[in-house]
């Protein structure tokens, strides 16, 4: 609520403004030249003026990380992870303080996320990521000699790219992952932070600068904020002369704004907005134990990051009678509520969502609602998916006669499909892929992922780099 422009009484006291510094190619930039609003909690944060020239690395200079061996980069990242989780890290502590005032998730969940995010900075893990993304990871460190069947010789390099990362704000883990991936491909990175988290990326980069302020990895990183879609910034920066690729999360307006700047030499690598679902076969109803187990596993998938992430399940297709679906729904609701309570998550539902659910309560011969619209977790049982996007601890159990009938609900926005029983997964994976899905997992395992596996139907690191060929004549025999 704002105060009225004139004449009337002021209704609300001035809000506190949280400071959000920038990080530009190794240097911290502080200031409060501009203020911005974060929608989620209606908090205002202050940033320095954005010096556009400092955000760009001239093409006449090769990227600072180009000739730093991958092994050294990984070592640096591992040390970063170690320092991130150290209890006396002032940058991270301060970041969580600030974030808990702007983020929609509870503090304990945020702390857990930062800890979890740091786990990505593991030597074996980072090596595995590189090995899965590149047939020959040495291409990151050197020009790899090749020869085709005609005898033509060449050298190929996975050359360090210039990347703009448009970060999402729903998971600090993405900040860590993006920094690590940008470093692994030796990129020059500009991170455009989100209004719901303008802190984490800078906190991690400060942790890195604390290790060695002149290290090329630190000089390759910038993190700034501007309002997404602001033409005054994007019209200037989004050009092939400054960047090779834009790595963007999200859809709708976030992507539409970016799309108009794409063209030769300036490509989009998009991590698309996704919905994840679960499939529960009739075998769940064989015994009380199997029913409890399926409900427990499904609740784990619904509550990944308290349902803020794309891997979190929102629709659970259940193969059985209405009575079966009702039994399952009841147990699922209890478990979602228990997980919500354990994490201290009491965020209320917004007005429109509450109204949608209330309406369904009224249409009680087709819909049944377990739990209340009090933000403590609820399940809606229906014969087809609800129109709205279930968020904030809401699952929609959709009853089907056969899981075959649930295939029509898989679409191009479907990401992870959690499956029960596990033996039935091979029967469905082709149809799931054809429908648009990207990942099928055992029910209850939506959260963890196999290290180095494709994400959003691609190997991202392979797409980040600037594949460069040096052709060197033909062998004479």
């Amino acid at each position: 609520m704002n105060a009225v422009p004139s004449g009337g009484q002021r209704v609300v006291a001035a809000e506190t403004v949280v400071s959000a510094p920038f990080f530009l190619r190794g240097e911290l930039v502080e200031g409060s030249d501009a203020t911005h609003r974060s929608r989620d909690l209606g908090v205002t944060f202050a940033t320095p003026k954005l010096d556009l020239s400092r955000a760009v690395h001239p093409r006449t200079e090769v990227p600072p990380l180009l000739n730093v061996p991958l092994a050294e980069i990984i070592e640096f990242l591992v040390e970063t992870g170690r320092r991130m989780t150290a209890p006396n890290n002032p940058f991270i502590r301060d970041c969580i303080d600030r974030m808990s005032s702007t983020h929609i998730l509870p503090r304990a969940v945020l702390e857990g996320q930062v800890q979890g995010a740091a786990a990505y900075l593991d030597q074996r893990l980072l090596n595995a990521v590189v090995e899965q993304n590149f047939p020959d990871p040495r291409a990151l460190d050197q020009w790899i000699p090749k020869q085709d069947y005609t005898g033509r010789k060449s050298f190929v390099r996975a050359f360090a790219p210039r990347l703009v990362h448009v970060l999402p704000g729903n998971s600090p883990g993405v900040a860590v992952k993006s920094i690590a991936q940008g470093a692994l491909v030796k990129a020059i990175n500009l991170f455009k932070m989100s209004s719901s988290d303008p802190f984490t990326t800078v906190a991690i980069l400060r942790t890195m600068a604390d290790i060695d302020p002149r290290h090329p990895i630190v000089r390759s990183m910038s993190a700034v904020y501007w309002r997404g879609g602001d033409d005054k910034v994007e019209q200037v920066l989004y050009r092939p002369q400054y960047f090779d690729k834009i790595v963007a999360w999200g859809g709708g307006d976030a992507i539409n704004n970016v799309v108009k700047y794409l063209g030769p030499g300036f490509q989009l690598v998009s991590f698309d907005p996704k919905t994840s679902i679960s499939m529960v076969g009739r075998q769940a109803f064989d015994t009380t134990e199997s029913l409890d187990r399926a409900a427990e596993l499904a609740s784990a998938d619904v509550m990944v990051l308290n349902q803020e992430a794309c891997v979190a399940s929102r629709f659970v297709y259940v193969e059985g009678s209405q009575a079966d679906a009702d039994r399952f729904s009841e147990k699922l609701q209890q478990r979602i509520a228990a997980r919500a309570a354990a994490s201290g998550d009491v965020r209320p539902l917004d007005m429109e969502l509450r109204e949608q659910v209330n309406t369904l309560m009224m249409l009680d011969d087709e819909y049944r609602v377990y739990g209340k619209t009090d933000g403590k977790g609820l399940v809606i049982r229906s014969d087809e998916p609800v129109d709205f996007h279930p968020i904030n601890k809401i699952a929609n159990v959709v009853r089907v006669d056969s899981l075959d009938d649930a295939m029509k609900y898989v679409n191009v926005a479907t990401q992870t499909v959690g499956f029960y029983p596990f033996e039935r997964m091979p029967d469905y994976r082709d149809r799931l892929a054809s429908g648009g899905a990207q990942r099928i997992v055992r029910l209850g395992e939506a959260g963890p992922s196999t290290i180095g596996n494709p994400h959003d139907a691609m190997y991202p690191l392979h797409r980040f780099v600037h594949w460069m060929a040096h052709e060197d004549g033909t062998v004479t025999s």
């Binding site: 609520m1 704002n2 105060a3 009225v4 422009p5 004449g7 009337g8 009484q9 209704v11 609003r37 929608r39 448009v166 999402p168 704000g169 729903n170 998971s171 993405v174 989100s194 209004s195 719901s196 309002r227 997404g228 879609g229 999360w249 999200g250 859809g251 709708g252 976030a254 992507i255 698309d272 907005p273 996704k274 919905t275 803020e308 992430a309 794309c310 979190a312 917004d350 007005m351 429109e352 109204e355 949608q356 209330n358 309406t359 309560m361 009224m362 249409l363 087709e366 087809e384 609800v386 129109d387 996007h389 968020i391 029509k408 609900y409 679409n411 191009v412 926005a413 429908g435 648009g436």
Partner: protein, 444 residues
Amino acid sequence: MAAVIESVGSAVERLTRLVDAPDRYNHTPAELRAAQVAAMNERFQDRVGRIKVLAHRAQEAGISQVRSLEDVVPLLLPHTAYKSYPESFLMEERWDRLGKWLDTIATYRVPPQDRTRIRDVDDWIAKLQQSGHYVSCSSGTTGKSAMLVASKANAWGSGVKLARDRRMFGLAPVATVPRNEATGEAYTAVLQDPNSRRFHYPVPPITVGSLTQMVVLRKRMAEGTATPNELADFERISAERAKAVEDAVGITAQAIIEARRDKLHITGLWAGLYNVAKAVRDLGYAAKDFNPENSIYVGGGLKRARLPDNYREFVYETFNIQPERNYQNYSMQELHSGMPRCQQGNRYHIPPWVVPLLLDKSGDALLPTGAGEYEGRAAFFDLSVDGRWGGVISGDRISIDFRPCACGAKGASVRDNIVRYADLEGDDKIGCAGTVDAYVRGVS
């Protein structure tokens, strides 16, 4: 005047009867308060047993009496409640179920419907009208339309008494829904000169059916079941409509130039008014060519149209509109009553039978107000609404002044700086979680 309001009998009747009182805007909020609370309670007691969604609300909130403005807040329905029906009811043409949904928000029982005897949504609406349910439909800027049910008892229009000496010029396509038709008829009856003909904007009318067709196609696109040929047909129809809308500007400009000697009453939305005014100017005509007694009625806000800053003055100056003949209302499909624009103070006067409730942004709590101007989310209880619950939370951010207006009227008034919260949001938060809506292009 306070005596009239405080007299015995039904508070609802006492307040709604003021529609014919010449000094209806001259009651202070304090004078009206007791009668308004009593009237809302009368409505509540009568409707809680009839409107299912209200009964549910009352039970959840534990409210059995409305004794204060605070008591009514948990009973207000967000404007989105009127589009809370599952879209599949439209997609699968389950008119019987859509009727059951309508029954949860209606005061008078919606009779069971035989879906096999209903052709389409327009037919569904026509059949409901036979049973005394008048369904109006808002043309929401995106997505589903709100379905608002009203009864025969609802009198639309503002009760403006004017001589029938004007030629009415509609400069906007109008949604063919009962509320708009009734308003249009009421205006025609009091304004239109029987010796000339009302000019209708030359584009096909927007029906509820045409609005829902779009919703259905969009949903089928999202599901991946819409075929390329269906999309091509849709694109063709859209292009034809766009052409008709484009042509309409020139046709209307010609017609209004020919009628320039008549005393005109011009109606429309800002975007259409501006485009016609521009075409008129381009043809070399301006204020001096038009009748100085012309009047104008503008409905709604900008509806996301992008116009030059001086669009209002440009329109007034083109058609020679003097400030005192500029009729504007602040209203919304969810209300039956309009709040007329003050001739002096850039404000809209709230009639006594519309109870203004200023809420916090989330719409959960009543803001404390006193004698001053306050800003918040607009909610209203319209006591003149009969066929459904009169309490609604809008999507608008408004400023209400509870002090007398500059024109001397003592009633509360709304400042003309109304904005939609949806237009204010424009944040750049993005997340990896999202819906298939982000994958549907060009159908909205």
